[in-house]
Symmetry: C3
Subunit: 637 residues, 3 copies
Amino acid sequence: MPGLQDVTRGRLLYGGDYNPEQWPPHVWTEDVRLMRDAGVNLVTVGVFAWAALQPAPDRFTFDWLDTVLGLLHDGGIGVALATPTASPPPWLGHHHPDTLPQGPDGIRRLYGSRNQYCPCAPAYRRAALAISSLLAARYAHHPALRLWHIGNEYGTTCHCGHCAERFRGWLRDRYGDLDGLNTAWGTAVWSQRYGDWAEVLPPRRVQYVINPLQDLDYQRFCDAMLLECFTAERDAVRAVNPAVPVTTNFMDTYRHTDGWRWAAAEDLVSLDTYPDPNDPGAAVRAAMSKDIMRSLGGGRPWLLAEQSPGAASWRPVATPLRPGLHRLWSMQAVARGADGVLHFQWRASRQGAERWHGAMVPHAGPDSRVFRGVCALGRELAGLSDVVGAAVPADVALVLDWDAWRAVELDHQPHFAFRYVDRLLDYYAPLWRDNVTCDFAPAGGPFDGYRLVVVPNLYQVSAADAARVTDYVAGGGTLVVGPFSGVTDRDERVHTGGWPGPWQELLGVRVEEHWPLPDGSPLDIASPLLGDFTATRWAEWTVARGAETVAAVRGGPLHDRPMVLRNCFRAGTAWYVATLPEPDALRRLLRQVCAEAGVTPVLPDLPPDVEAVRRGDLVFLLHHDTGRVEIRREEAP
Amino acid sequence: MPGLQDVTRGRLLYGGDYNPEQWPPHVWTEDVRLMRDAGVNLVTVGVFAWAALQPAPDRFTFDWLDTVLGLLHDGGIGVALATPTASPPPWLGHHHPDTLPQGPDGIRRLYGSRNQYCPCAPAYRRAALAISSLLAARYAHHPALRLWHIGNEYGTTCHCGHCAERFRGWLRDRYGDLDGLNTAWGTAVWSQRYGDWAEVLPPRRVQYVINPLQDLDYQRFCDAMLLECFTAERDAVRAVNPAVPVTTNFMDTYRHTDGWRWAAAEDLVSLDTYPDPNDPGAAVRAAMSKDIMRSLGGGRPWLLAEQSPGAASWRPVATPLRPGLHRLWSMQAVARGADGVLHFQWRASRQGAERWHGAMVPHAGPDSRVFRGVCALGRELAGLSDVVGAAVPADVALVLDWDAWRAVELDHQPHFAFRYVDRLLDYYAPLWRDNVTCDFAPAGGPFDGYRLVVVPNLYQVSAADAARVTDYVAGGGTLVVGPFSGVTDRDERVHTGGWPGPWQELLGVRVEEHWPLPDGSPLDIASPLLGDFTATRWAEWTVARGAETVAAVRGGPLHDRPMVLRNCFRAGTAWYVATLPEPDALRRLLRQVCAEAGVTPVLPDLPPDVEAVRRGDLVFLLHHDTGRVEIRREEAP
Amino acid sequence: MPGLQDVTRGRLLYGGDYNPEQWPPHVWTEDVRLMRDAGVNLVTVGVFAWAALQPAPDRFTFDWLDTVLGLLHDGGIGVALATPTASPPPWLGHHHPDTLPQGPDGIRRLYGSRNQYCPCAPAYRRAALAISSLLAARYAHHPALRLWHIGNEYGTTCHCGHCAERFRGWLRDRYGDLDGLNTAWGTAVWSQRYGDWAEVLPPRRVQYVINPLQDLDYQRFCDAMLLECFTAERDAVRAVNPAVPVTTNFMDTYRHTDGWRWAAAEDLVSLDTYPDPNDPGAAVRAAMSKDIMRSLGGGRPWLLAEQSPGAASWRPVATPLRPGLHRLWSMQAVARGADGVLHFQWRASRQGAERWHGAMVPHAGPDSRVFRGVCALGRELAGLSDVVGAAVPADVALVLDWDAWRAVELDHQPHFAFRYVDRLLDYYAPLWRDNVTCDFAPAGGPFDGYRLVVVPNLYQVSAADAARVTDYVAGGGTLVVGPFSGVTDRDERVHTGGWPGPWQELLGVRVEEHWPLPDGSPLDIASPLLGDFTATRWAEWTVARGAETVAAVRGGPLHDRPMVLRNCFRAGTAWYVATLPEPDALRRLLRQVCAEAGVTPVLPDLPPDVEAVRRGDLVFLLHHDTGRVEIRREEAP
């Protein structure tokens, strides 16, 4: 099976999206020259070129692409060729209005923007497969071709009749018959029982709260339909030349596509990431995204497919990256396993909705701060070939689960602002600040080789997944579980008899009630081990059943309820955290856990804001503040 | 006519909604056992059971309900049987899409949630009447049956063609002909004159503000249609066994259904109430709701039909009730006239949109804080049979008027945030804090026997209602009228010549202009009698015409305008308050008024946060804070 | 060509909208009497009278209007007669649903409010022209008629099929063929290329950001269609009696209609203005609106067509004007060039959505504070005939451009809250505070005779307009240009090679990057000339290319970047301001610029809150605070 190594061929990749169809041919020549100046060796071509390649249903214009690919190849620049199916031309929507997606309100979304397709519409599927197949037939053996880039940032949803029809089929596959569906969806509640498959619909506009599993299943279904779209195009290009690897570009922490399933369907993992330079948490969020990408690929190198050297135009306040930040964040990607740093895009578009998006060649032209920085970074990356293919070691795994994410964010959960990604960051951030490198793992593992497994939040848990976590602790592992976990099964049926459902014995605790807290009413928590602290937004009515109380509430209705518990379970140790402690307290807790589990940082005692990551034989030291720090390497005694 | 006494039979009712269709039969047996442990003697069955009873248009399955009613009866537990018409099965919407309600945007609301019916759709009306009649035919003489519970929390609105047709008929009945409609709606404004009945429509999506009386009349019409739905089902069940009383469950201060009209149509009044444990004003709001229920029933006992012993799942932050709060609020209901305390629901649903709603048997099961509290309360209520049927005496009546409420909250009123329920609370809360028990009364009275009548706000007033209030004062009564009152007639036509329209002589004041105030600009008001105070959001350009000025503005454009006036009118006294004083000032004012009118508290000089209510021979003392207070009964000297 | 002088005939106009169709005839007589008491000499009749004049498609009722015009004429009161086409009767929408406008969501807006017409619907156009022509035929020579008032506050938009068809024609006229359209709209971006005119649509609901020029062109097109509606009715009335001048009423700073184009199409300019008495900036906003009106008419007198002597009913908090404020703002209009002060409306409506809008005769009636003030003002204006027709001199011109305004507020601009009117006020307000009178001018001038031209913001600039500004400076003028200017061409194509595009040489600066700033992160700026100051929200990465740096950033990523630059260009001076300085700093800057350019205030050294404007031989002194000030006239030495 081909992989990123077939693209890198020993060199870090550097480049960006290239949209020559927006420019006259004389610019193409200048582009290749400037790319060479900048050290570019891979560009992504054709992402939005469908209308340029097929201006009418029965007319094709590949000649310009022939020319461009030839110029690039002559310049020594490799190509990631895209199937252009993320943005159909207006003619598709005009001739096949049923390819235009409908909102839950039944209103169709028109062309004039992008992404206006229903993933279930047969006419869309046919047209997308046709253009992809033609591209494959023409270019799959082109010498410039290094990589197939399928679609773009998959994520479109639709609620139309085509979707309803496919949804019924998907449900039939999942639940067998209507009785199965009625049982799973709990339609005995609110008189929702279905008597005929024809009655079953996507969630559309309703009077009040929608059935939660109908909502969740539709999210799962939409994901599956997009994956079908991807797979069909992947197969079409692979069929012509199986040696060329295939990818599609993921977005930062994106709920709609299940990373584990998608990563399994592609040859290498790619990420589009746009940290906000105005967000003080940008570095840690970016680090987490990057660790997730590495983990989705099973530890193999991944590709940074898009970032901006300037502004991200969709931000309400689109501040550009300050000098140095583009280099810093690029290096963070390489440190955390990326074997390539690409951008959206090569040359800033003069027109269209993204005309204010940063680019390697900005509107001001090559004589600019930005382009000079791009060239400097290109030179620097060219000197880092040693890390190509190298691994990033980690002793800690955080559990990441898309279904539990979607479920915990359904409507009418006990706290409307309980957000899954915040929960991940609660635990990832203190570990990152202490330079403890983390992988991510699915809810069912495997967890072999990790000294510590952290489950920041796992609202839905199946018996099988629960058992694997239990086995991990039983075998000597250390586990930390965060609040509102083990609450429902995969059909969103509440575990009765107390929570965290199947983990009560493992954790030595029984939760009787969830206790969301209004803003402005922090809990006061006492802990001899961790020091006293406060917690907000969430608590639980816990009853210790064998676990040792590490921290308990002081005062108020939850007085004396344990909020942090430690339980010795067979050969291992399991912690339960029933609330959302203030960040410093959670950091102290995780330091304690790491110390007990034998987890150590990449380098100890670094100044604040210095990130350290080991990759292969190198340790990357990344300073996220703008002042100067000095770090001395101590000689071994 | 049957009433609540036919349900209580001398004992306070205790129980909740019971949805056995969500559980396998073996749970039913456990349920009856647990109900007996808890002292439950009434459960509401079948509220959302339509699909369980009629899984297809032509198929009926009553056997499970036969079994359940038998089990309950054998266990000595009475049944409030519901007509299940609040939530039609999917087949109704599927076969009759015209039963699905349309928003003002014309978009239909689908099944998958609940309440998806158009109250005017003939197919819905037929189906609802059919299932209700079948239930009546089968169970109206069942020995377990104590009460009919029609529908659930009526409140659905629709804007479809069926509604348009019925709306025209309703308007024709009200206004006679098109000239009458054009005159009433003031269609000379903005060129809205109707020349043909076919042109007349519900308020739908428009470019700018809708005609205010079109909006208000549509609210009145929707209320009337829902009442028709209720009445049809009531008549169907009453026809089979007139001895069984009929009710439907109201919601806390709900604008869409006119409590006075609805209460007149049922045998007893029921309330669903969900105070927010995070709201510092929860106790006073709850007390007001309960006093309203007692008043709607003319002082007779009423039924607390739904509350939660835990969380209310639809709250953004669904905090459960702290220990003791469930008991406290239940006792408040009994103190204020309830002869029963029911809950939504008996056993927590494992599935569906309300799986996080509190229940008497929570997810954790009977071994839980909540269920133990439920059992303790059951025992306590069983010991309170003395109050069953007893009255709650009150010397004060507050005027409550649904039409004025709707009108004062129409679009483009002078202050967008002038809310009717806030105005009621302005006056109710200080009286509650001083333990002065209040009834509520319609705008036209009767006011016989009250020492004090308070009109917190009455934007719309008819000549007839105005005259009754005037007569009350003329006959020696004391009256307080709040701001923005007496402004329009019942057709929303502004009273000209100054306000409060027909009450200028009664109150001895003429208001020339309303003077809404922006936030952050309080009025400074001087009053030798009440002490100086501030007021916010609302003032008026008043001119005293005979009344004595009790408080007047100091500084600013309204300098010297009277804000509180007292007028001797024949044998009585009438106060006018033209602004929204700070709460303590209004409390001082009402103490003054009560003292002059001879109104006294239930008990004087109680500590703060202690509520005292007399019911029959008992005085209930309810402490709303969590600390301890000691109250000693003084011996009569 | 007729003008305002044909209406005034030497007297300031005074009056308001008069809607007799809302009142019985006996009120008409009282109205004329009260108008005479108040000094009213012009009323606007018939704005919303379409249904009263044509109650059915084939029925007309002009008799009441004959009577009213006769009564007015007999009372010596002139009439501005309206074509009533802003609010079609229900029968039009009922018989021609395609005249009802569609939102971008395809949902039609119904009657029941006002403005429910599609400007492109042929049936609307026909009906509007027909009623206008009949009015003209009947009244164009009526002795009371002084002025035609076409429509009302033009501004309706629609996205229906009629609009789509006309939009295609408009685009064809603009861009020639589909290639032209594709080139202009940049459809190579995101695969939006159109292959057939039938594919081209208005911007409707889309998945993501709309094509920016599609959006902008649709705004231009909607403006053009409304102007067509106006022009057709104007021509119809003019054809019958060309001696009667024609106007339509503009709204305060309203983006949807291009004032320069509209003013050129009418005989005189009119304004509806409703400053918010709770807005501390009301006086300066109002002054700016009034100066814009004078400028749109090329310096000729204009008409204040609507204001309120009380509240504006559409405000969320509709506070009335405090005593004195109605007089003050009326005088401000006269001072700034108005030859008439009219109101909406004469007599407060008892019904309808605007029943809480202030009026000359309020609900309380003539015996009221408001009506007494109205009469006093009438007397005062009658004594000011000297200013009728007089000019308001100004040495400064601010550039005002509707297309640039629309473009800078498109979606996904670098800062979502960069608002054009705020930018105008940034520069207008300090000049106003210093009593420097300003005109407004189009982007292409002419600028002859101005000592100073200010371009607060001009995001779009054409080569031709840019050249005219350059010529102005070259010829000795002084120019100030604000940030984010010279950025795109009129087809919204970004100027490459640095900004402000064609003005880099003129201003001696090259901007490489725009640098929007998040809230809470002010820039620290050092300036020996102006004193240090802070700036917010916006900055730029500037490189001085010949200009002198007047102020530069201190610290942070933009350290040392010039933020204020002064460039000597041929005989003139050009300043560039790359950020949004705090108001006092911009005031110091403008004082410096004025001093250098020889611009002086109307009167120097006035107390704060005193506004001075010269009109003809008079200087108006307007005190905007409520205290007292004393201003002494110094004798010439």
